[in-house]
C-alpha cells in the first residue's frame, strides 16, 4: 500500500535552496469525534516527523490532532552534498514509517 509520497529534486547545485514536499497516508483521527455507534473514536495521529540529511537531522515537526488527515508538509533545505534524505513519521499505536530519497549535488 502506498504510504508516503516524497518530492525531492534529484539534482541540485551546492548551496541551492531546494523544496521538499511530503504527503503521508494517515487518518489523523482527533480523539474528539463520535462514531456511528455513539462511541468516541480513539485518537490516532502522527506525532512527529523528522528529516535527516546524510544522518544529520535538518527538520522536525510536531503534529497535533489539528493537522489535517493525510498530512502534507512542504519545507526547504540547502543542498550541501550528494547523499540520502531520510524521512521518519512516528505516532500513536506504534506508527512508524521511514522513507528515503537520494539527491545528487554538484
Amino acid at each position: 500500500m502506498a504510504r508516503a509520497l516524497i518530492n525531492v529534486p534529484p539534482k541540485a547545485k551546492v548551496g541551492d535552496i531546494i523544496e521538499i514536499k511530503t504527503l503521508v497516508s494517515h487518518p489523523m483521527e482527533t480523539g474528539y469525534r463520535v462514531g456511528l455507534g455513539g462511541e468516541i473514536l480513539p485518537r490516532n495521529i502522527i506525532q512527529t516527523f523528522t528529516c535527516a540529511y546524510n544522518g544529520e537531522e535538518i527538520y522536525r515537526a510536531e503534529f497535533s490532532p489539528a493537522v489535517a488527515a493525510n498530512p502534507y508538509l512542504a519545507f526547504h533545505t540547502l543542498a550541501m552534498e550528494t547523499g540520502t534524505l531520510e524521512f521518519r513519521w512516528t505516532g500513536d499505536n506504534d506508527f512508524l514509517l521511514v522513507e528515503t530519497a537520494s539527491i545528487t549535488v554538484e
Partner: protein, 254 residues
C-alpha cells in the same frame, strides 16, 4: 439551520427553470479557492494519489479462481483505459444493462476473474475506479451510445422530480440556482467531472453514488440502495448533461 436556509432559498419565486446553457456549463473546480485548486492540480498534494497508486497495484494483482489480473487481459491501463471513464456509464450488450464503472469492474471480477464482487465504497473498489478514472484525465466527457437513451431519460426524470421532506429536486439547486450562495457555500452546477473525488468533508475518496446519496440525505429523501438502477440512471444523465467537459479524476471538493 441548514433546513431553514434551504427553506428561505425556496420562498423566492422561481422565474425560470431549465437546463444550463452549453456556453455556461463549467466544472465546479473554477469556483473553489485557489488553495483547493492547487491541491487538486498537484498529484503530490492531492491525497487521492494514494488511492490511484493502490489501484495500480490492484490492477496488476491476480484475483479469483482464474488467477488473472486486470492487466492480464487489458494490459497497461495507461493505454487501454485511456478515455474509458469519460464514456461511463456504458451499455453492456451481453446483459442489456447500463453499468457504471464500479458495476463494470465487479462484472469483470465475477465473470472473468472468478472473484467475489467488491463492496461499494470499499477501499479496493475506490482504488480501482480512481486508477481507471485517472487514465481519462483531460478527456472530454462523451456519452454518445444511443442505447443509453432510456437510462438518460430515467435519470433526467429523477433529477427533476421533487422528493424528500424538503420537497426539493436536484434541478432546483443545480439547474436553477447554481452559482448562488447557500449559507457560505456556492451551489455547484454538479457535473461529475472528477469522480471518484477526494472530499474534504469525508477526509477520504468517495464515489459519485456516495455523493448522490449525500444529496438525497440533504433533501431528507430516502436514499436509493448502492448499486441500484436509479443511481446508475442518474449517473448516466449527469454524464450526458456534462458532455464535453474534461475529466478531472481524481478531483478535490470541499
Amino acid at each position: 439551520m441548514r433546513a431553514l436556509a434551504l427553506a428561505l432559498l425556496l420562498v423566492a419565486p422561481l422565474a425560470q427553470a431549465g437546463e444550463i446553457p452549453a456556453a455556461e456549463r463549467r466544472s465546479d473546480t473554477v469556483t473553489m479557492s485557489a488553495e483547493l485548486r492547487a491541491m487538486q492540480a498537484d498529484d503530490m498534494a492531492n491525497p487521492a494519489s494514494f488511492w490511484a497508486l493502490d489501484g495500480q497495484t490492484l490492477w496488476d494483482a491476480k484475483a479469483g479462481t482464474s488467477g488473472k489480473s486486470c492487466a492480464d487481459c487489458h494490459g497497461d491501463a495507461q493505454a487501454s483505459m485511456k478515455g474509458v471513464a469519460a464514456r461511463y456509464p456504458a451499455f453492456d450488450g451481453a446483459t442489456g444493462r447500463v453499468l457504471d464503472l464500479e458495476a463494470r469492474i465487479n462484472q469483470c471480477r465475477t465473470d472473468r476473474q472468478g472473484a467475489p464482487p467488491l463492496a461499494m465504497e470499499s477501499r479496493e473498489l475506490l482504488d480501482l475506479t480512481t486508477y481507471v478514472g485517472l487514465q481519462s484525465r483531460g478527456a472530454p466527457i462523451s456519452s454518445s451510445d444511443p442505447r443509453l437513451a432510456p437510462a438518460i431519460e430515467t435519470g433526467r426524470q429523477l433529477f427533476s422530480a421533487r422528493q424528500g421532506q424538503l420537497n426539493l429536486s436536484c434541478a432546483i439547486c443545480h439547474d436553477d440556482n447554481w452559482g448562488r450562495k447557500l449559507g457560505g457555500a456556492t451551489v455547484p452546477q454538479a457535473h461529475p467531472t472528477g469522480y471518484p473525488i477526494y472530499r474534504l468533508e469525508w477526509q477520504s475518496v468517495g464515489s459519485l453514488q456516495r455523493r448522490l446519496r449525500n444529496c438525497m440525505v440533504g433533501m431528507r429523501a430516502e436514499p436509493y440502495p448502492f448499486g441500484s438502477d436509479a443511481y446508475i440512471a442518474l449517473e448516466a444523465f449527469l454524464m450526458f448533461r456534462a458532455k464535453g467537459l474534461p475529466m478531472e479524476t481524481p478531483a478535490v471538493r470541499p
